[in-house]
Amino acid sequence: MTNFSYAAGEELNPLIPHTAEIIAGAVAFGLLYLVIRSKVFPMFEKAFAARTEAIQGGIEKAERAQQEAQAALESYTKQLADARGEAQTIREDARAQGVAIVEEMRAKAQEEAARITAAAQATIEAERQQAITSLRNEVGALATELASKIVGEALDDHVRQTRIVDRFLEDLEKSKN
């Protein structure tokens, strides 16, 4: 250590320290360290931490949004599948119902046809019977008239008349056979 007083431009060994400078250097450095330790360091670290947190928060938010979108997509897909299934069921039901309706209609139509046929047949039968009866009467009357004319014998008696006609017709049918 050199003494405090030295002349300007005095030749000194530059490697020998100077007491005042050592004290001043230590004090200056210590002061700066305290300022940085108490003011600068915590604030910069705070900014760094906040930034890291902000970035991580952003990433987490994005992940959450992605998960939500995924869930929504799955839900939509599921709903779509459900809707498709439902449509399929409805279509099948409709087809079955259609088949049933057609079947029913056909049955009804057949029934109706059968009924109409039966009624027609009954009418025809009745008309035939009627025709047969009237024909028989007419033919009887004609034949009687013819016969009375031929025989000259008036067959006024109705009962006899009928008997004769019946016999005549039976003969006729027999001869037909």
């Binding site: 030749e11 530059p14 200056a28 940085i36 910069f44």
Partner: protein, 260 residues
């Protein structure tokens, strides 16, 4: 004074070590010297700048905060985190103070009007190296206990016993003498030599300008070289601040590691 000498034709006196002995500007007050004033000026400048830059601690930094953070994260990430590892955070304030203090005081060597590198006064590098010396030994002793710490320095594991005769003195000298000495002298010598070099070219150029006609013509070349060297010095000043901080971080990392 020297210029006057030159002008009166007493011949050029080359700058020397005595140009670094600046007397107190108040007679009898040993602390009133230029280097001491510069050291405190650097404390004020660094404090003001970084307090202003870090005050808001915003997520989206302003230009000022970004500038401050760039320097801060250079030390924090590039030096502390990469070298010391997971325990780095508690050393960041010290390394950051060290880096900015040395850097600004080095820059004083080329900042107009100030133009004196504080670290060319050997006392300042001695103080800084002494602090680093105590810090890394303290860290090592706290981490491993005094006995194990000294033992690991003296008897490096994994070495044949006979080698210790040679290795132990070397290791002891390295840890307790060479490290602090080289740390301080490297910084001091670089700043001292750099300043001397600039003095030679600028004062020499000035002397030539005062001289005869033939010398006047040569004078601009001296100034040109001086300006080029100023840029060169600028880089050396950054480099030396970086190296001092880097080595401090390495010594701390070594003291923290279980095996050297």
């Amino acid at each position: 004074m020297r210029i006057q000498l030159a002008a009166t034709g007493e011949g050029f006196k080359a700058p020397s070590a005595k140009d670094f002995n600046l007397p107190p500007f108040i007679d009898g007050v040993a602390f009133a010297t230029k280097p001491i004033l510069l050291a405190f000026l650097s404390v004020v400048l660094i404090s003001v700048f970084f307090i202003a830059a870090s005050r808001k601690a915003a997520i989206v930094p302003s230009r000022l905060q970004f500038a401050g953070e760039s320097v801060y994260s250079f030390v924090r990430e590039g030096l502390a985190k990469d070298i010391i590892g997971h325990e780095f955070l508690r050393f960041v304030p010290y390394l950051f103070t060290l880096f900015t203090f040395i850097l600004v005081n080095n820059w004083f060597g080329i900042i107009p009007l100030l133009q004196f590198p504080t670290m060319s006064r050997v006392s300042f590098p001695y103080v800084l190296a002494a602090i680093t010396f105590f810090v890394f030994h303290y860290v090592g002793i706290r981490k491993q206990g005094p006995v194990k710490y000294i033992k690991e320095i003296m008897f490096m594991p994994g070495v044949p016993k006979a080698v210790y005769i040679l290795l132990t003195p070397i290791e002891l000298a390295t840890f307790f003498i060479v490290r602090p000495l080289t740390l301080s002298l490297r910084l001091f010598a670089n700043m001292f030599a750099g300043h001397l070099l600039l003095l030679v070219f600028f004062l020499g150029g000035e002397y030539l300008l005062m001289g005869a006609m033939g010398l006047k013509i040569v004078s601009p070349f001296a100034f040109l070289v001086g300006i080029a060297l100023t840029f060169f010095e600028f880089m050396i000043q950054i480099l030396q601040a970086y190296i001092f901080t880097l080595l401090t971080a390495l010594y701390i990392a070594g003291a923290l590691a279980d095996e050297h």
